[in-house]
Symmetry: D2
Subunit: 342 residues, 4 copies
């Protein structure tokens, strides 16, 4: 039985508490939030869970083995570092930290203490995303041509981070997991429409050493909700629509065919191939339930989570560089994850 402490009972905190409460082998010992009314809500729902406004109570509590940090980004590093130093396993909401430097320190601290450090890249634990990764790994798409993602809606305006840190974080973690490659450079552009507030709409492009392009559109000010990703390969292509109730992943047997003409490349005939479409059955298990199970398993077995500190670092690195590019009107910036580059 692993004892859990949950810090932050805002948007994600309640989902973590609910999943941990109903998971065999886990027990929520205490939760923490600065707002009294949130604590009252926890009390009404789960009278046996200890509540506090002081997270240090949780860190001191020997019945707590692991801590879930579901607070604003700016506080992630400090809370996670203290939790690790208190010898707690740590799961942090995405993005892992506010800077690459911070992520690196957490990774080292966790490694030194042989503690599990995990980041909540939620979508990686959905069957849709896992299925896409499998299809790519097995080569069913052929050579990847592009990855195009749109995540827009009239969303909650964040004050502390721009729309890339709020929304693109999901898509970068999905892309990274599905394609299994990292970009070599990033360009981003965005606009802030409200004075004193961060960018509310942004476009991000990833360049790779391979002849692949990845592009992301994120927007807090869209009249409709769109969650659609296209992945094009030379053999097959995927449409991943997270708003579809059941057929979230559709695989199209479409591509291009090349026929060399008599006079060489100038006579090249580019044709199209269109075949069947296929939507694999997907499990509907809630991602957070799979993820909570995985966290517990990693703690038990001392294994590295799929979304470990390094996965978190890679996404933070992309966001950091994208923000830098956005400040230079989309000038592309090289990525370097060596310690020396930071």
């Amino acid at each position: 039985m692993i004892g859990f402490g949950v810090i932050g009972y805002g948007y994600w905190g309640p989902n973590w508490v609910r999943n941990l409460v109903e998971m065999a082998g886990a027990r929520v010992v205490g939760t923490c939030d600065l707002r009294k009314e949130r604590l009252a809500l926890i009390q009404a729902r789960y009278p046996t869970i200890h509540t506090t406004t002081d997270y240090r109570e949780l860190l001191k509590n020997p019945a707590i083995d692991a801590v879930v940090i579901a607070t604003p980004v700016q506080s992630h590093f400090d809370l996670a570092l203290q939790a690790l130093r208190a010898n707690k396993h740590v799961l942090v909401e995405k993005p892992l930290t506010a800077t690459v430097e911070q992520s690196m320190i957490l990774i080292e601290e966790a490694a030194r203490r042989r503690l599990v450090l995990m980041v909540d890249h939620t979508f990686v634990y959905t069957d849709a995303v896992r299925t896409m990764r499998r299809l790519v790994e097995q080569g069913l798409l052929g050579n990847i041509y592009y990855y195009d993602s749109v995540r827009v809606n009239l969303g909650l305006f964040q004050h502390d981070v721009n729309v890339l840190w709020d929304l693109a974080v999901h898509d970068l973690s999905i892309m990274e997991y599905v394609l299994g490659i990292q970009p070599s450079a990033i360009a981003a552009t965005g606009v802030a429409h409200v004075a004193g507030q961060p960018e509310d709409i942004a476009y991000l492009t990833c360049y790779f050493e391979q002849n692949v392009i990845a592009h992301f559109h994120v927007n807090w000010l869209a009249p409709v909700k769109v969650r659609r990703t296209l992945i094009g390969g030379d053999r097959q292509m995927i449409v991943y629509d997270d708003l579809e109730p059941s057929e979230k992943v559709k695989v199209y047997d479409k591509g291009i065919t090349l026929n060399g003409g008599a006079e060489g490349i100038y006579q090249l005939l580019v044709g199209y191939r269109a075949g069947d479409m296929w939507a694999p059955k997907l499990s509907t298990t809630e991602a957070l339930s799979t993820e909570a199970r995985h966290f517990v398993d990693c703690i038990h077995n001392g294994t590295q989570p799929i979304t470990d500190g390094v996965a978190g670092l890679r996404v933070v690195s992309m966001l950091e560089i994208a923000t830098r590019s956005m400040a230079q009107r989309g000038q592309s910036v090289e990525i370097c994850l060596e310690r020396a580059c930071v």
Copy 2:
């Protein structure tokens, strides 16, 4: 009765012939194509239309008052210039020419001879696009925040122009007409996946002096067809989906609200406002029919078409600059339409 000659009977040529044949006040005197089998097809369909492989026959024919040029881009300038010099009114398929310089020469030639020079920015003649322009002009959207367009599908691979010149040309002409403002700088990025072929996927960003951003995604290699534009204003927002059979334009009474907090801008509360959605009734008249009518009216009245040479020039200019930016990995390039800048 205005006599027409149509040069090029490929994709758009037949649509022009069909619309002109059935339009009162117009008569198709002759058509020209280099391919014998295309001429045979015209003969089968319209036995009374003169066919030829030599466009000069049409330019010499005094029964022909106006010429429609529906050939590949590279030939637009030369054919249009000769037609103007033969004192024919000229309508050219989009994009008007392959370079800004060429567009300028055509504009001057037409002006000197008092001939109508028109470019086929087809969508400008749809009721959907005209309705959006009216909504923007009347201020119903409030201050414009962004224009985001996606035009992708498994389309006909062009060998002579990249995907921007083939697809983005539509969206740039729509954007220009609907918003009524011109960008001050453009950045574009794209990838060619087939050796020796032009870019098949591209992203284009327009920057404006106003705090607006416009972004375009065009793609010849997408598994599904998407034709969707979002236009965000601070009062209302539009979703324009050209694939919708009837409600192509939806107006959402959504926006953001700002409440200054006691401590000023740092306490600013950004809220959301969501109201009704409304889809205006749209006429289903074929755009080409409206456009052909407009061309004939301009010839009769000696008036300037909505999509005149200058409108064509502006779009060519954006495409030219975008292509230059694409060669520099998305480095943004300033736009200048003064003669001195070219």
Copy 3:
């Protein structure tokens, strides 16, 4: 503070408990279910709620003022009658009872004791359904022509009731509430595909004294989920799609126009009128929350609920007659709600 007992913790029970737990002025005192594992689940979630396998414990408990009955249909009558006799206000899951006779007895018992008897016609408490009723009442649709509803999916196969009692119950209660008229006759037809099991697909038609037709398609064996209702009037028409995330109700300014010809009715010109479409903003408050609030208010004020026993009776009556018609291959059966007819 009203004390509640909830009998049945299957599909709807947990929703009732959750809503009552978080509602001001209400308290869930005890819940009952025959299955130990369900009681254990309640204990895990709400350690302070008393659980039992014997519903009589709840009926005897003086701290309980009102009872929610969320058990299979067959048990509704007996449980509700006992609850009323124990002087509890009663809310029963739809359909109210298994027979018209039973509904009548409950109505009389509740009236005699001045207790609130309410049936959970859930959709009546959604903003979508309330908005449609308002539009009809205000005459915006003009004369009603038809009501056509489809509710199909691969659903939970019921063993005790046929698909009409399981699914059409929703649509009959919505139709009755929105149109405000009752059918004079009903015809229904259906098929059972599994030996020994009730009908799994059925079609039901309601005839009215007015020139209106209502039709319902319900199906447990459909590959896709459909929840769509069309309501046609001579002035405007509605499409109500419960699966739409936000624009559930769309109002089309469409209809037919009649122009009498010179030679009278045989020369009548029937034309079509097509105008704008409009989707009113809908509140997203959970129906059960609105409904629970309404139940508590009725108890406090001694008023009749919108979905009172008589509303429940009317729906049960339609289902009873439809089932009779279904046994006669769709022969239509007159409806009579006078005591004498039963």
Copy 4:
């Protein structure tokens, strides 16, 4: 080279002329319509086709081998009979005739003269419908449970026939072709909302000796266009949506599973099975082109068309019986195609 005469240049006539004009081995010799302006339109489009207001001119013309009859239903029988007697092969728009008796006479006349008699059940010549038939024939759906079709929109109000004869004719011919079985009884119900006009909304149910039910909803007064058919089998299910641009036929690997319980049928466990979805690639050849080709082939080879007189008769028979049932408020009527029954 087969010479064609086309009688009627209203809605379908132009489509037939266009397809025959461009088909190798066919030639349109003459067309007939009572309206001068329609003849003028033909002249403008096809100056070499002879036009007349007197269909007898076409029947007398020895250059005409085959006649396409695209006139209102009431005239089908008389025109077809005269054409057959003039030794012309005949293709008649759906429905074949206005009565079963008339269809029988035409079938006999064509058989006696060894002429091809074909009915234009257009959808039978689409790849979507042919693919569904193949899937059913190959047993991929397993035992068929139901066939449910919806064909509604704000359509052209017909004065001479009710909505069943106008719209359900399509679906009955599709159902008959795909399932390969004929109903044993039919029930239909409908309403006329405009005084003096035929029913504008109707529901039709087919009963079969097998445990299958087929149901059709047709409606001229719907605010939206729907063309959707569900076909349920115990192994797989189909959704056929004719408005989908490319994936018109989707095959769902869904069904029900039965597990006998210890105590026999009352303990039967009905479970659900959900697997992948699959959309076969469909050819986009225009149905009328395939059909015209087939007509010409049948004439050449003296073979029976897929949609021969008997197929036409079967559909007319269903419509006739449905209309009779509709007059009796949905009372089901047995079908009998023996001569003796008529």
